[in-house]
């Protein structure tokens, strides 16, 4: 798949990956063996019937392809771009043994983009009818008038998926979002160059067309409590409040100016469009030499955003080796191509400030790898006497998030674990409270967009079972 040249792309926020042409997509689809028992579908968290949609692309029936995807996935344009396909569908492809797997992600994106580029057709052709949750197949029925109300708290990947599936089952769904736009991490977290916001907006428009009512600027836990939501006549609630509380390292100097959480940097840039300042009013203050601490996808995003904001040098600081980095190989590769320098086996010890309270350096230690730790990775250990000062004027902490506290503090009846994650039944996503379900990063810590969507899907099926009386609701 074609990409923007690294020399050019570090000067803009346009999408890096340019997608497949029609010709390329049909050719790639033609390589599929159409396995009888497809391992790709079995390894898709939302169980898209992958060979079927690939076959439709092969037949140049792109409308049919997107319809097949949307039977299971309400956000194909997003997933085609940000899913870690190498660990899922593509990782399971039988062709891996003979060389290159089918580029399923690119084909999914192609089908989604074909439809989005032809908006007029989009809604008429690809609004499947309600989903029969028991069988997982389409049941073409109109939403039932006077059907029951379900509230979704948070409009990130899990909430959007749960909302879409419930709307297709005929429920009256309201999505409550704290920010001024829907989309959650898809809007504030993932940068424009990896996931254009117009794609997210169009996919959310699709959910609206299914009848989902989206209420932005509404913080459940502040604007209204969960009890008040139930008092408004909602019969079930899905909590998808995400992992929006940044972690810091608790080292000296972390509150200096130009120390950002990755959340703050990315929110300013992605959600508030600080890269277009001063045309847009939200500023961001990035220096010449930026250290981004961490090894995940958010680390790579923060590093690549910093380059595009004009930083001369961007370093990724990671305490283990590259092998242990949780980021996708593709994203590590993209960052390296763009000139991000990797300082592995390096641990920040403290941040040094100038007299005005701005970062002027960071003290680090060199590490070495010891035996395996509880995560199965080799444990990093400090090398004594290896302290050194790194010449940086900006530090971004991209070392993970914890669940957002606003809703949880206002809802103490909800059972959480020691990490403040909501405790759920992994099959139904039901919490300790009857009628209340949860999923996504609010439940199991940080994971992928598609894993959160899978949870939203399971919750939608369970909520339908609960409200139709076919399955119990309390956990």
């Amino acid at each position: 798949m074609k990409k923007q040249d690294p020399k050019d792309r570090i000067k803009n926020f346009n999408e890096v990956s340019l997608g497949m042409s029609e010709e390329e997509a049909i050719k790639e689809a033609g390589r599929c063996l159409f396995c009888k028992e497809p391992r790709c579908s079995a390894n898709c968290p939302v169980e898209i019937e992958i060979p079927r949609f690939i076959n439709a692309i092969k037949d140049k029936n792109f409308d049919k392809a997107i319809r097949i995807i949307k039977e299971k996935n309400n956000l194909p344009g997003v997933c085609g771009r940000v899913c870690p396909q190498e660990n899922q569908c593509e990782g399971a492809c039988i062709l891996n043994s003979k060389g290159r797997p089918i580029n399923i992600g690119a084909l999914e994106r192609f089908a989604a983009d074909q439809e989005l580029s032809n908006e007029k057709k989009a809604f008429s052709l690809s609004c499947p009818g309600p989903l029969d949750s028991a069988r997982g197949k389409l049941r073409r029925e109109k939403p039932r008038a006077g059907s029951q109300k379900v509230a979704i708290i948070g409009s990130g990947p899990s909430g959007l998926t749960c909302a879409g599936d419930l709307a297709r089952l005929g429920y009256q769904v309201t999505l409550f979002e704290a920010l001024h736009v829907a989309g959650g991490v898809l809007m504030y977290g993932i940068p424009e160059f990896r996931l254009p916001k117009t794609i997210v907006k169009k996919e959310i428009e699709y959910l609206r067309s299914l009848g989902v009512d989206i209420r932005t600027n509404f913080i459940v836990g502040k604007t209204s409590s969960m009890e008040e939501i139930f008092e408004l006549g909602y019969k079930a609630v899905f909590v998808g409040t995400g992992a929006g509380l940044p972690r810091f390292m608790n080292i000296p100097g972390e509150n200096l100016n130009r120390v950002y959480s990755s959340n703050e940097l990315l929110t300013r840039v992605n959600l508030m469009k600080a890269y277009l300042f001063p045309e847009y009013d939200t500023p961001v203050n990035i220096g010449r030499k930026v250290a981004v601490v961490g090894g995940g996808n958010t680390t790579m995003d923060s590093a690549r955003v910093s380059l595009r904001l004009g930083a001369e040098k961007v370093y990724v600081i990671y305490r283990r080796s590259e092998k242990e980095m949780p980021a996708r190989r593709e994203e590590i590769g993209n960052a390296k191509e763009e000139g991000v320098e990797f300082h592995i086996l390096t641990l920040p010890k403290g941040i040094i400030g100038d007299e005005k309270g701005f970062v002027k350096g960071m003290e680090c230690m060199k590490m070495k790898l010891g035996g395996l730790d509880s995560s199965g990775r080799r444990r990093p250990m400090a090398i004594e006497g290896s302290e050194f000062i790194m010449d940086v004027d900006t530090v971004v902490m991209a070392i993970g998030q914890r669940p957002n506290p606003v809703f949880l503090r206002a809802t103490p009846v909800l059972k959480v674990d020691r990490g403040n994650k909501i405790v759920v039944d992994p099959e139904t996503q039901v919490t300790n409270i009857e009628g209340v379900y949860a999923g996504g990063d609010a439940t199991y810590g940080e994971d992928t967009v598609i894993a959160a969507m899978g949870a939203g899907k399971r919750a939608a099926i369970a909520i339908d079972g609960y409200l139709t009386g076919t399955k119990g609701g309390a956990g």
């Binding site: 509404f218 045309e279 009013d281």
Partner: protein, 273 residues
């Protein structure tokens, strides 16, 4: 969209806006704030809820940059794209006896709901209000009608005593005057000085902090501040903290993070600072 019911210029560069926002108004407590965004290109800025009725909230702001300048140009009948809240924890209002509320600049409007709440449960409220000059002493009649005692200071002596709120506070403590609680809202340097004055006599002192923030829900950490060695988020843990534990030097430094960018934006838009 949020309907602007009024936007009056109540003092030089200070405006009072009444916004129709029933969901926020219905929940607003003393000391809480909301976040507004003017339009699609706007930034999210926090503003303390100075007053509210069943359907509307009142915010008071000083023109200090691009957003507040743009806000000041909005007329009655215009709309704001977004308003969300109420955010932060509401002030704990318990009957403590003698409360001294100290406010500077637009902080005077922000202290109003706190004074009102303390009065509503029968505390004795003494207020010390300070500003550069007479014209900038806002909410004077509202607060005079509520407070048991009121002291006013101006830098130039055009109203009340010439000097700062800190001078009055020092004198009252020396007099000696019993105070159970001191509440301070205003410029960071004012709150720092007040904390320094009350610390030796161990008078419980709360400061309402005004940090930079983006989402207001604990997501970005822009508003973090060292309070007694722990990093706290003003948006979800505050905005009020034990003033004796707040690292005001850090607060003042962090407030200046975007000064260069903001000055640049003002210059190119021809907004005088």
């Amino acid at each position: 969209m949020f309907n602007i019911l009024s936007n009056e210029n109540i003092a030089p560069a200070i405006f009072r806006m009444k916004l129709e926002a029933p969901l926020i108004a219905g929940k607003a407590g003393p000391g809480q704030f909301l976040i507004i965004r003017i339009d699609d290109k706007g930034e999210r800025i926090p503003l303390t809820i100075a007053d509210h009725d069943e359907r509307c909230v009142t915010i008071v702001y000083q023109v200090a940059g691009v957003t507040t300048h743009r806000l000041s140009e909005k007329k009655k009948g215009c709309y704001l794209a977004d308003a969300v809240g109420p955010l932060g924890r509401a002030t704990d209002i318990e009957r403590v006896g003698n409360v001294c509320c100290i406010a500077g600049g637009v902080g005077i409007a922000e202290v109003y709901p706190v004074v009102k709440a303390h009065k509503s449960i029968g505390s004795h409220v003494l207020a010390i209000l300070g500003a550069k000059n007479k014209k900038l002493i806002i909410f004077k009649s509202e607060l005079e009608g509520l407070c048991d005692e009121i002291f006013i200071t101006t830098d130039d002596g055009s109203l009340g005593e010439k000097g700062f709120v800190s001078g009055v506070l020092e004198r009252l403590i020396d007099s000696p005057r019993h105070m159970d609680l001191v509440y301070a809202v205003g410029p960071a340097i004012m709150m720092k000085v007040i904390a320094d004055i009350t610390r030796p006599s161990n008078i419980k002192t709360l400061a309402s902090l005004n940090t930079i923030l983006v989402d207001g829900t604990g997501m970005c950490g822009s508003c973090r501040i060292d309070v007694g060695g722990d990093t706290k988020f003003v948006c979800v843990d505050g905005p009020e903290f034990d003033a004796h534990k707040v690292n005001f030097t850090e607060l003042i430094a962090r407030q200046g993070l975007f000064k260069k960018q903001e000055d640049h934006a003002c210059r190119i838009r021809g907004i005088l600072q």
